[in-house]
């Protein structure tokens, strides 16, 4: 109860930080906010050109390669950007935390949320892609009522990002090495998540490796998302339960870790 009251009092700070992050992200650039749209568009085009011939062949399963790729890329980008920013948030706000009392969890959480806003804007690229392929009739995505379930994987992903962000921001205060380690980890994650390839079209001989990929919650989340917007069918309940369980567990661990260590932050900043 005390915590909720505190959160309510500082909700303005949360809002101001989200606002600040978004406003400052593209300040001084000519195209400004338009980059949230342009950047995923351009990178997706590049990836389609590079991998389209190799992985884009199995159209039966993945329906439409550009949309398939864009789904994975958008979700991955949101996850990696928001967790990276959350990780550095405590360190970056050291000057404030050292001088004024503020509930510290606001910083990692606000950084995830501000990235979530830009992510939602960048979803318009996906909408454009879908409209384009439906209009031209070339491998159109299967549009069904399941599309309205698309927020489910997105929200699970956000929960996951908040949890991981809390854990990383705590660790980052004590060990700056996490910065570099996590950078490498994110690259690994990019290849371990079926973003530009399709798991079914890889002729995997090693069963352990396959399980390893499937254990990645980002795999479950992207598959769920693709089911909604691309395949036009219900996502599997196993994916839902696994991703949700993983996300909630990460948030619980994050809160516990953050709560236990937050009084020591000031001594290490």
């Amino acid at each position: 109860m005390k915590y909720l009251k505190n959160l309510y009092k500082y909700r303005n700070l949360m809002y101001e930080i989200i606002r600040k992050n978004i406003k400052l992200q593209y300040r001084d650039s000519v195209l400004g906010m338009f980059w949230t749209f342009l950047q995923p568009l351009l990178t997706t085009i590049i990836l389609v050109i590079i991998f389209g011939n190799v992985f884009g062949k199995s159209n039966k399963e993945i329906v439409n390669y550009p949309i398939y790729l864009l789904c994975g890329r958008l979700l991955y980008e949101f996850y990696s950007q928001s967790t990276k920013r959350a990780m550095r948030s405590i360190r970056n706000s050291a000057s404030v935390i050292k001088k004024v009392y503020v509930p510290k969890y606001i910083y990692p959480v606000a950084n995830v949320l501000s990235n979530f806003v830009t992510f939602c804007i960048s979803l318009s690229v996906l909408v454009c892609f879908i409209i384009f392929f439906v209009a031209t009739g070339k491998n159109p995505p299967h549009i069904t009522g399941y599309m309205f379930l698309a927020p489910v994987p997105i929200i699970i992903l956000m929960i996951l990002a908040v949890g991981v962000g809390l854990i990383l921001s705590t660790l980052d205060v004590f060990f700056k090495d996490i910065d570099y380690l996590y950078e490498v980890f994110c690259l690994l994650l990019f290849y371990l998540t079926p973003i530009f390839y399709h798991l079914g079209s890889l002729h995997m001989t090693n069963k352990y490796f396959l399980t390893f990929i499937k254990a990645n919650p980002l795999y479950s989340i992207t598959e769920m998302f693709r089911c909604c917007v691309l395949y036009g069918r219900m996502f599997s309940i196993n994916h839902l339960l696994y991703a949700l369980g993983f996300s909630v567990a990460s948030v619980l661990i994050g809160i516990l870790l953050f709560y236990r260590k937050q009084d020591k932050f000031i001594l290490h900043l």
Partner: protein, 250 residues
């Protein structure tokens, strides 16, 4: 009426002084394995008992390293005391080094809202006071300029203007009146005095006994983490001047 605004009971603050700061994993493990993790305990504050009544203006005097800033940080809630307890009543506006909550790439105007939110005030609340903040800081022409282009005096002025505009119950001033030019210093001193009438409680750190005498009605002297004198501003200031002259303490 005289309900205490700040009650500090048996409060102690301890720091681990490691000889070298270990901040990467490799070093940490090497030192852990070779058992070279030395910590020396350092008590920045010991057994502090302090009660500040509502409406009191307390000057905190002491030499460098006596624990003044640590005391203010503990009272403002930035640090948690190792032992003992601190109870405060009402909104605290800390002015420990003004402008700490500013974002350098943000304009002055945007920073006013950000700084206000850092202290827990809503956008609406700040909006109502926006004009008086700008007027007081004398930065009308620069309000849309990013704060990174401000001079340190301008930053301090803006910070002071915001913190004094929000009408806190407890105001914590850590040598802030030593920034800015003489004219602004006079102006902010008057501003603080005008806030006394509203029953504001002030904790004021300074090295200048003149400033303490003109602002405070009570004072304490900290030395090596202990309160060695406590009483009316005149008495304590006289004692402090004596300490300075005799070169005692540090």
């Amino acid at each position: 009426m005289s309900k205490p605004a700040i009650v500090v009971e048996n409060m102690s603050m301890m720091f681990n002084l490691n000889k070298e700061k270990v901040d990467n994993l490799k070093e940490y493990f090497i030192k852990l394995v070779t058992r070279k993790l030395h910590f020396t305990e350092f008590w920045a504050l010991q057994d502090i008992n302090l009660t500040v009544n509502k409406g009191d203006r307390v000057g905190v005097l002491g030499f460098n390293g006596a624990g003044k800033s640590t005391l203010l940080k503990v009272i403002s809630g930035v640090m948690k005391p190792t032992k003992g307890s601190v109870k405060t009543c009402g909104v605290i506006a800390p002015m420990l080094e003004l402008g700490a909550g500013f974002d350098m790439n943000y304009s002055g105007k945007e920073n006013i809202y950000l700084y206000g939110a850092t202290m827990g005030y809503s956008r609406k609340y700040i909006e109502d006071r926006f004009d008086s903040i700008v007027e007081f800081s004398e930065l009308k022409d620069f309000i849309d300029v990013p704060v990174k282009n401000y001079s340190s005096g301008m930053r301090a002025r803006l910070g002071f203007a915001i913190a004094s505009a929000v009408e806190p119950d407890i105001l914590i001033l850590d040598e802030v009146l030593s920034v800015g030019d003489a004219k602004f210093r006079k102006k902010s001193e008057n501003k603080i005095k005008s806030m006394f009438d509203k029953g504001i409680t002030v904790l004021f750190v300074s090295h200048s006994t003149d400033q303490v005498l003109s602002i405070c009605n009570k004072a304490i002297i900290l030395d090596h983490g202990k309160i060695i004198a406590q009483g009316s501003a005149q008495e304590v200031c006289a004692q402090y001047t004596e300490m300075v002259n005799s070169g005692k303490g540090k």
